[in-house]
């Protein structure tokens, strides 16, 4: 058989209507408002360093892509007491430095939503799956992964109505080809039993779009100036090619914030990252808020100017953990999708830190 024909068969993928329409809408936006300077933002490290969940996300055809979408989480109320980004970040640095670093596993637990368009052609609707994922990484770099679906539901009241018209189905085939890891082939209304696997490949952690090993992340400097230099170097050697000079500063700010989210850095390095962030331009405090899981915290935003997409994150002031981080407002072409789907693009951390508790199948939140 002709190997070129075989290749074409092997790799065949066709665009969905939705993909074609979204791309066309993006082009329409570009035509309507052209001539932005070239810039690049940090890839939202959705499921960063978490190969299994990345494929699990693919199973449900999540719309979270490199350009990110949205959250309009609860609007932060006015600040109760005068506070600045600097005071909030420096206070968090103190907490971070004092955090314990003993335990066998670096453990993270996150919740994500994935969306899929389902239903007959004349009555399509969105369903959302709530996914819980956990990682346990040992100091030698070995990693266990837990994954569990908390079930599927129609995304909005309008989708619920369409779902009822569709006869209230209880399961749908999962959409993507990338189900080869043996995960669920169907999305179901009922929560799934979940699974726990030992990862074969060495886990990688995305720092400024540069993949690092556990040891490399743990070796990041614990002094702000040196840490900045290390992050700058990572950025210049990133896996997605060079960052345009015009967007390097905002890129670096954004990746410093992401370093504070679930990355296995030492407590002193986390403290340095908070102190570094306190010196960076464009970081503003929004005030006290609750995150999407209704937990209290202080919201900050990294202002990337009129042409960028701002990053919003919520700090738990008791622990210095970042409860959630994501795009502050939807990019224009995605507003329609955003309206339908609410919270896509934001990463939510349920638990993070060192522990001796053994890996197990995730419990549902």
């Amino acid at each position: 058989m002709d190997e070129l024909r075989m290749l074409a068969d092997l790799l065949e993928e066709n665009p969905s209507d939705r993909t074609a329409a979204e791309g066309r809408a993006r082009l329409g936006q570009e035509i309507a408002a052209p001539a932005r300077p070239e810039r690049r933002r940090l890839r939202w490290p959705v499921f960063a360093g978490f190969g299994l969940a990345a494929t699990a996300a693919a199973v449900t055809g999540t719309l979270v892509l490199s350009s990110g979408t949205t959250p309009r989480a609860p609007d932060p109320g006015p600040a109760a007491a005068p506070m600045t980004a600097r005071t909030v970040l420096l206070a968090a640095a103190e907490k971070a430095e004092a955090a314990p670093a003993t335990g066998r596993y670096w453990h993270t637990k996150s919740v994500d939503k994935a969306f899929q368009r389902v239903g007959p052609k004349n009555n399509p609707y969105w369903i959302e799956e709530t996914q819980v994922s956990e990682t346990w990484t040992e100091r030698n770099g070995q990693q266990s992964l837990g994954f569990r679906s908390a079930g599927v539901r129609p995304a909005t009241p309008a989708d619920t109505a369409a779902w009822r018209r569709d006869g209230s189905p209880q399961r749908w085939p999962a959409e993507s080809i990338e189900t080869g890891w043996g995960g669920p082939k169907h999305l179901t209304i009922k929560p799934q039993p979940g699974l726990l696997v030992r990862r074969k490949e060495t886990p990688r952690f995305g720092v400024c779009d540069k993949e690092m090993t556990f040891a490399q992340v743990a070796a990041l400097p614990d002094e702000p100036t040196a840490l900045r230099a290390a992050l700058h170097k990572a950025m210049l050697n990133g896996d997605d090619g060079p960052v345009p000079p015009g967007s390097q500063q905002s890129f670096l700010t954004s990746c410093t914030a992401h370093l504070l989210f679930q990355q296995p850095v030492r407590p002193r390095t986390r403290a340095a990252a908070y102190r570094l962030l306190a010196t960076m331009p464009g970081v503003k405090v929004l005030g006290r808020t609750v995150d999407q899981m209704k937990r209290p915290g202080i919201a900050l935003v990294i202002d990337e100017g009129r042409t960028g997409q701002d990053t919003r994150f919520v700090i738990d002031t008791k622990t210095s953990s970042i409860l959630q981080i994501g795009p502050a407002s939807p990019s224009k072409p995605k507003i329609e999708l955003t309206k339908r789907m609410g919270q896509v693009g934001t990463q939510i951390s349920l638990e993070v830190g060192w522990t001796d508790a053994k890996p197990r199948i995730p419990t549902l939140p």
Binding site: E3, D17, L27, G28
Partner: protein
């Protein structure tokens, strides 16, 4: 394509862009493509017709290499980049299709990890999803597995050429224009790549 055109119209009615007609199955000749790009310099909306005519093919190429998740973004980005650079399109240096695939190839190169993940995922799927049952099934799956693995062993330059031919259906001249390399180089890279792929298939296939 009908459903697609319908959605396009729905989107363009809601958004800023608008074109009469929508995508067409019987695409006019290539010279019309170049004329569209030229016209879009004074009337930017005309560029949406370039999108309509070429998005499905560009998507198939990008998704073939990066998988559908990443391709949604990269295929759309290809047209944004093309739109921004439309003033630099020179019909003397080749047609619109190779120009677009050249841009797509540059963007694909920025996602090399996604690309190798894609081929690994395909290799894992190969046996499971091969057509048929029993011995035939296993044999077909084995071939697909070998092919997917062989892809990861090609150099990026070899992959660019072989996949522009296999997925994008470009001629040798088209590949040369897309990648900005001499015509003769296309032939030699393609034959090297095909030899490697055949060797991988024959090792277990016989």
């Amino acid at each position: 394509m009908t459903a697609l055109s319908h959605r396009f119209r729905a989107v363009s009615a809601a958004g800023a862009a608008h074109t009469a007609g929508g995508p067409s199955e019987d695409a006019p000749p290539e010279s019309a493509d170049a004329a569209l790009v030229a016209a879009s310099l004074t009337d930017p909306d005309r560029f949406t017709a370039v999108y309509d005519r070429h998005f499905p093919a560009v998507y198939r190429y990008v998704a073939g290499r990066l998988g559908p998740q990443v391709a949604d973004d990269v295929a759309a980005e290809t047209f944004l980049v093309a739109f921004r650079r439309r003033a630099t399109f020179d019909p003397a240096k080749g047609e619109v299709r190779p120009w677009l695939f050249g841009i797509a190839t540059t963007l694909v190169a920025q996602h090399r990890r996604a690309e190798s993940r894609r081929y690994r995922a395909i290799a894992r799927l190969a046996v499971e999803r091969g057509p048929g049952d029993g011995a035939d099934h296993a044999a077909a799956g084995g071939l697909r597995l070998d092919l997917a693995r062989a892809l990861t062993k090609l150099s990026r330059k070899e992959r660019d050429v072989v996949l522009l031919v296999a997925l994008a259906d470009l001629s040798h001249q088209g590949v040369a224009d897309a990648l900005g390399i001499p015509y003769g180089t296309v032939g030699s890279r393609l034959s090297t790549a095909r030899r490697k792929l055949r060797a991988a298939l024959n090792r277990k296939g016989e």
